[in-house]
Symmetry: C2
Subunit: 387 residues, 2 copies
């Protein structure tokens, strides 16, 4: 099995890009990743992640669309989908292709244009396709509502106030102020958090990640492929693992523990031969504050019911014990759903290379990213190391 390295990363700023297409965003991120890797040669394969283009842009078949736009004649290209976990799943598929020997060099690009769905209802309906259409959505649940159910239960079960979750959003926004690609670059306070408009009780606006557009890209290479390449600072893949849980909440063993995340993390730790205390930073899937909390707990960084304490004690900031959302996270960098998992890896690479600027985690040697599809139904975990 070939060792896999990340030799180039690229990303577009996240925002509402009304005048740019799926192809525009994807090729910008890919070009930047190719330039970062210092290569011009066409990769052997392209893995695209996307969730909503079929519904919002009337465009499927993004493998062919983007390889056409990139001018990559004849390249193997396909799309990977796992709802909001699509990005992580495409990274995993790219890694698998290199490990198998099918590709020496592979490109991964995650892209989402959520603003193509100009009516709120279209986007809400699109996001709800991550949940069970028959047993959840047809019964009236939106995707935010499902997260609200979980958050309410968590607060009830552990006797935790809504304000205890503020630390996640405050940290995310603080970190995003230094990320030129982030959508929201203004800090927030506990007061603004507490006064934010309610979306679906107890989830308020500042518990939620935004609707936005963006693309992020990686170039992966095998150890063999790496030898001929100029990239001085490759990042190594120590683990790439995923797991599923039941798609609908009512079938879960426990509504407030993410079994899929626990299993996915466990598999990743096993692959890497590591434990939670070896991880220097963690790009968590903070699509909602409650998901940041559950993800920290499932990954072994906090006991069940204790994740908000980490935030309160300053342990999740870039100089804390387990920094999360170091470039703004889904909350403040933005969450272009099918692209998010690739953004997480791009940011992890910048930390491991020591290029994260004001948000640099000191002595960052080993980082973990976790990308979640649905309310924890698909979870993909990657562990990367410097060099």
């Amino acid at each position: 099995m070939q060792d896999v390295y990340i030799i180039g990363v690229g990303q577009t700023p996240i925002g509402e890009w009304w005048d740019r297409s799926l192809s525009d965003l994807s090729t910008e991120a890919l070009r930047e990743a190719m330039a970062d890797a210092g290569i011009e040669e066409q990769p052997d394969a392209l893995f695209v992640s996307n969730m909503l283009a079929g519904q919002l842009s009337k465009q499927k078949h993004l493998g062919a669309l983007i390889s056409s736009a990139a001018g990559w004649d004849g390249i193997e290209a396909l799309v990977i989908e796992a709802a909001c976990g699509s990005g992580g799943a495409a990274v995993q598929a790219g890694i698998t292709a290199i490990r198998s020997g099918a590709a020496r060099m592979a490109a991964v690009v995650g892209v989402e244009k959520m603003t193509d769905g100009v009516h709120g209802e279209t986007i809400t309906a699109g996001l709800a396709t991550a949940a069970d259409a028959e047993y959840e959505v047809d019964q009236g649940a939106s995707f935010v509502a499902l997260n609200a159910l979980v958050m309410a239960r968590y607060m009830h079960e552990y006797g935790i106030d809504h304000e205890a979750f503020g630390g996640f959003s405050i940290n995310a926004h603080a970190n995003a102020t230094n990320n030129p690609c982030a959508m929201f670059r203004s800090p927030i306070t506990q007061r603004t958090y507490a006064k934010a408009p309610m979306i679906a009780p107890p989830v308020n606006l500042l518990d939620s990640s935004p609707v936005c557009d963006g693309a992020a890209a990686l170039i992966l290479a095998s150890a063999d492929g790496l030898r001929d390449l100029p990239q001085a600072d490759p990042v190594r893949v120590l683990a790439s693992a995923s797991a599923t849980d039941t798609i609908s909440l009512q079938e879960r063993r426990n509504l407030i523990e993410l079994d899929g995340a626990r299993l996915s993390t466990q598999r990743a730790y096993e692959q890497a031969g590591l434990a939670p205390q070896d991880i220097d930073l963690f790009e968590a899937h903070d699509a909602f504050s409650i998901m940041a909390a559950l993800s920290l707990e499932a990954a072994g960084f906090a006991q069940p019911g204790r994740a908000t304490m980490l935030a309160r004690e300053g342990e999740i900031t870039p100089d804390g014990r387990i920094p999360i959302s170091t470039m703004g996270g889904l909350k403040a960098r933005g969450h272009p759903v099918g692209a998010t998992g690739v953004y997480q890896i791009v940011e992890l690479v910048s930390q491991l290379r020591g290029q994260a600027g004001a948000n640099q985690v000191l002595h960052a040697e080993i980082g973990m990213a976790q990308n979640i599809g649905g309310s924890g139904a698909t979870v993909i975990t990657h562990i990367l190391s410097r060099g």
Copy 2:
């Protein structure tokens, strides 16, 4: 790199299944494939192919949906999409996972419920997402219209009459009469072909594959995995290769040659160390008669402009030189778009095992299947051998 075997196959009959869900169809095909393989143990990974569930059933995230329904706790599961080539792409992803060592045993299921879109326009719009939304579909082209353009150009360029294409549909319907899973089990004649209602000139109803529902499944195993298994008659994967071409027709080098199919087939022949004359049967992507012709030419079974001669001379029937659509093909077995590529492999396996009944190709040792996404923009080719 691990050798890969197909140790179990399953399929639902194809039809209009108004009362059965995506989960129902998928789990039926998976159960049959597991029973066929003689195993009960949960596979290591699940690869799902689907194109239209997001648009037609308001359901994405089929990896989690189907693994939940199958009761496969914690399994790695994701969705692969390449328009009508999704099935072949998922088979390739499954093979890659085994080759990489990431899985010892993997399940692949292709599923499509096209009848969930109850209005003709919804399905037409859904199928058009395989083409370029901005440069083709927004300009008024449906997916059938694009195929009609190609067919008209082919007829003009080579001076071929519409009636010359009849042999493809006649062969497909004749073969489907013996396939209990086929949608159309009545033979047709040259006369019925010629008199069929026009859809988009020159494509008529009997040039076209139907809107339908179905699911097909495979169980794949590595050589290591195979050792402990009871399956007496495994089929070996000799090649799994894909290629892309430009998504939109106007960018093609030549409108009536499928460069993506030629390249994909070439890569497959190279992987297998084989040439066209070594192939005993060919499951072609006959979504439209013109695609059957172009696919035969790109794969090296006929010179450009000569594919209809093969049909006229009886060379594509089960006892001909290069049998195609041996169980009815997309035309008569049916074309549940995202599932088709898996059906092709299921049928190839039944031929290579000698279980194809009245349609059995004598001495079938090596078979090829080719699955096409869009108008030839993504092409996935598999070559399999007996034992």
